[in-house]
């Protein structure tokens, strides 16, 4: 298990290196640059050159890349060109918001989707099953941004409610923090719960067909025990896989929700970085998001072993 963990982490290296090269190259290829952004309208070529030299943007790309990635390996993501602030601490603060959003969304979606998915599977072909399936389909079909705006509008007009402004960290004021996060997290949660629901349903159906369920019933187990103790545990593996993959789409989906709800998360930071062509910021953010994502995948894999004793990875 330990060896497997080490191996999985070693395998991340080429992937992360690849991502770092990709994002670096992409940032260089994007038209527009940070200098025009800073100097704005009236920049002279000399001024531009001067500034480029200041940020080391005049060096060969390979040198710039090595310099950057070398720093990253030492835990130094560099400084924002626009604000001259070190990037990593900023990413970490921003990540708290995105992580909270993602986790809340995931939890909301599980609380809704997994029980409903089970219900649909157990009562296969019933009216409840059909309703749940339609609901799941709707969940995956509504664009998140439309849902967000619609909800904002609806809640403000009908209930005079607006998601509170002024982000507060969870540890500063949990209650207020939750008030702020609940709406965006629910919207994200709804957008993924459709697929979780479908996966739960099909996974539970699959397990229900397996022999051991019959044994459990033959032992005299009640339906509740059979489903929640035995079926669910086996059904969990594909669900966990899906959820692991969804963390990725949540991190991405958060970009839009963060933008609409003005949450100071990593997605916003990346978008602002892109708009300002603040290379180190964008590179740092993307690399970090990718890192979190692959890490989540490793954790998912390790979770399998926790859920399923057959998987031991040795």
């Amino acid at each position: 298990m330990k060896q497997y963990t080490i191996r999985r982490i070693l395998q991340l290296i080429p992937v992360l290196l690849g991502i770092s090269i990709l994002i670096f190259a992409v940032m260089k290829m994007i038209p527009g640059d940070v200098i025009s952004g800073i100097l704005g309208v009236e920049a002279t070529p000399e001024l531009r050159a001067q500034l480029a030299a200041k940020y080391g943007l005049d060096r060969p790309y390979i040198v710039q890349y090595l310099d950057w990635i070398g720093g990253v390996l030492r835990g130094d993501f560099g400084e924002s060109i626009r604000t001259a602030e070190p990037i990593l601490p900023q990413i970490l603060t921003r990540f708290q918001v995105t992580a909270e959003l993602t986790i809340l969304a995931a939890v909301i979606s599980w609380f809704v989707a997994i029980p409903l998915g089970i219900l649909a599977a157990v009562k296969r072909n019933s009216m409840a099953d059909r309703l749940i399936r339609v609901f799941a389909l709707l969940g995956v079909s509504v664009p998140g941004f439309a849902l967000s705006i619609l909800l904002i509008l609806f809640l403000s007009l009908a209930f005079g409610y607006f998601s509170p402004l002024g982000y507060v960290g969870f540890f500063e004021d949990p209650l207020r923090n939750l008030q702020i996060m609940i709406l965006p997290a629910s919207i994200l949660g709804i957008s993924i719960s459709g697929s979780v629901m479908r996966m739960t349903r099909s996974s539970v159906l699959e397990v229900l067909r397996q022999d051991f369920v019959r044994t459990v019933r033959a032992k005299g187990a009640s339906e509740r025990v059979a489903i929640f103790k035995h079926v669910l545990r086996s059904a969990l593996i594909p669900i966990v896989t899906l959820v692991g993959m969804q963390i990725g789409s949540l991190l991405g989906g958060a970009v839009i929700v963060e933008q609409i709800f003005s949450l100071p998360g990593l997605g916003q930071m990346t978008l602002t970085g892109i708009n300002q062509r603040d290379y180190p910021v964008v590179q740092g953010c993307v690399l970090f998001i990718a890192f979190v994502y692959v890490l989540v995948n490793v954790v998912t894999d390790l979770l399998y072993a926790y859920i399923d004793p057959r998987i031991s990875y040795d």
């Binding site: 994007i30 038209p31 527009g32 640059d33 025009s36 952004g37 800073i38 100097l39 704005g40 309208v41 009236e42 920049a43 002279t44 001024l47 001067q50 500034l51 200041k54 626009r82 604000t83 001259a84 602030e85 900023q90 921003r94 705006i149 904002i152 509008l153 809640l155 403000s156 007009l157 005079g160 409610y161 607006f162 509170p164 402004l165 002024g166 982000y167 963060e258 933008q259 609409i260 709800f261 003005s262 949450l263 100071p264 998360g265 916003q268 930071m269 602002t272 892109i274 708009n275 300002q276 062509r277």
Partner: protein
């Protein structure tokens, strides 16, 4: 000249007869549409940041709603000759650090802008030349007196001083922080408080402000709410109490009893510029045809919900400086003439001209582009629109006089400023940095030189009128409309009167219960 020693006029608050008393120390919650980049008044120029910078910093002189000047940090000034300006500073003005502002700080601030401090060039500020390039020297005569000597007479000098680049800053703060992007070295009525990027900026009241009694707000908090519909929703629920809205949503806000709408004519205008490196656009007939073909009123109806005025490069808000669009035939919609000109240039139903038009993500530019495309299609021009995201937009903007840009036309939004010199020479002077479309006309350059060298208003008007006529005739930059801007606020917000000259003065603003 402009008489000195004016005290600021008592603000003419909108007449909503709300009888309730001010809430002592209320916090104004402002919904802002985009994230400020930073607060260094000498380098930053984008609107979201300026809104805040204007609360933090002050300049020697400032502009009244009627475009006259009053002393802000300077109590008064005199102009002994055409090239000498002596400012008598207000005594007892404190920086937010608590230190008193003196003449040295003024000298330092201008040294910084002009790149003469020990730290050298502050790295940004391409604007220094156009604003303060004419300054020969800035000297502290005594602690409260500063003398500016100009290289040559400059009628726009006072006007230039009112820009944020003329802000007086605290050198200690700069020494400590390197720059002012995230630090506060101002003297303004509000101080920089907590800034949570991409979320909010808090500006608490500066208790030692030199006019502290006048300021009734306890502070302003700027919340970022990027989406306009969301801003309106937040206004409705009282989550914020003031925000900028586009004219479209103002209609909705007007229907709400607890919201009031404050509109003012800006001196910004949108225009379409021609890339003169495109051969087809070197033909003046084509450019003029496009000017004729634009039905500006329709565009205003569509894009600005009717809330804008047809404008030349001197928007109507500039008052007597503006000749008004009515006086130009080229700004009257005339399809026949446009077609005639196009045909003269060799285009016809079977020979269309294809042009690439760059637009930004800003709603008004994006929408204007669509209308322009539609209208130009009537005169054998096929326009292909690309909406550029802001980083690219700025990049391409700088290249619009070369084929490198990859675009033939661009929709821009420009601020004409308060002085005709900026409106003309900044955007049309040969080689001027904002003259991105590569316009060049000797007579215009000459007129600008004349206009700046004299302080005789009548003369200046004459010069600039002529320049304006030439620019319109040339049609390299086809101006379209100058919009109204709107603040929507809760009715509890009182004592706020935005104008083109200053749309962010909250010193007299207060909240009622």
């Amino acid at each position: 000249g402009c008489g000195g020693g004016n005290t600021p006029p008592a603000s003419s608050a909108p007449s909503a007869p709300v009888s309730t008393t001010p809430v002592e120390g209320g916090i104004l919650k402002y919904g802002t549409d985009s994230e400020p980049t930073g607060f260094d008044p000498h380098t930053v120029s984008e609107e979201a940041s300026l809104r805040i910078i204007n609360q933090l910093y002050e300049t020697l002189v400032a502009t009244n709603a009627d475009m006259t000047y009053y002393g802000q940090l300077a109590e008064s000034w005199e102009i002994p000759d055409d090239v000498t300006y002596i400012f008598y500073l207000r005594k007892g003005v404190k920086f937010h650090s608590g230190r008193e502002m003196t003449a040295d700080d003024v000298v330092y601030s201008f040294d910084r802008v002009l790149g003469k401090t020990e730290a050298g060039d502050i790295g940004a500020l391409g604007s220094k030349d156009s604003y303060y390039g004419g300054i020969e020297s800035v000297e502290a005569v005594d602690d409260y007196t500063v003398k500016f000597t100009l290289k040559e007479p400059n009628a726009a000098f006072l006007g230039n001083l009112t820009s944020n680049y003329g802000a007086i800053v605290d050198k200690d703060v700069i020494a400590e922080n390197g720059d002012l992007m995230r630090a506060d070295g101002g003297t303004g009525p509000f101080m920089l408080g907590e800034w949570l990027p991409d979320n909010y900026v808090e500006l608490p009241k500066f208790e030692e402000y030199w006019e502290a009694d006048r300021v009734k707000l306890g502070g302003i908090t700027y919340y970022l709410i990027g989406d306009e519909a969301a801003r309106l929703a937040a206004l409705r629920t009282g989550e914020i109490n003031i925000a900028n809205l586009s004219s479209t949503n103002v209609t909705a806000a007007e229907k709400e009893s607890n919201l009031s709408v404050l509109g003012y004519q800006t001196n910004d205008y949108i225009a379409m510029g021609c890339n003169l490196s495109t051969p087809a656009l070197q033909d003046q007939n084509v450019r003029q045809a496009m000017s004729y073909a634009l039905d500006r009123q329709t565009l205003i109806n569509v894009v600005f919900n009717g809330q804008a005025q047809v404008s030349t490069m001197m928007p109507p808000a500039m008052g007597h400086w503006s000749l008004g669009a009515d006086s130009f035939d080229l700004y009257q919609f005339n399809l026949d003439k446009a077609k005639e000109l196009m045909e003269a240039a060799g285009y016809s139903d079977s020979n269309h001209l294809s042009l690439k038009l760059a637009a930004g993500l800003m709603d008004s530019l994006r929408q204007a582009a669509v209308v322009i495309q539609q209208q130009l299609s009537e005169i054998y021009i096929d326009v292909e629109i690309t909406n550029l995201e802001s980083g690219e937009y700025v990049d391409i903007w700088g290249k619009m006089s070369t084929p490198e840009a990859g675009f033939d036309l661009m929709v821009v939004s420009d601020g004409a400023g308060t002085d005709p010199n900026r409106a003309i020479s900044f955007f049309f002077g040969t080689g001027s940095s904002a003259n991105v479309f590569g316009f060049s006309n000797e007579r215009v350059d000459e007129l600008c030189a004349l206009g700046i060298a004299t302080t005789d208003e009548a003369k200046r008007e004459e010069y600039y009128n002529e320049a304006q006529e030439i620019c319109v005739e040339d049609s390299t930059k086809i101006c379209i409309a100058s919009p109204m801007k709107y603040f929507v606020s809760s009715t509890s917000v009182q004592g706020f009167a935005p104008s083109a000259a200053d749309a962010s003065d909250f010193r007299d603003t207060y909240l009622t219960q």
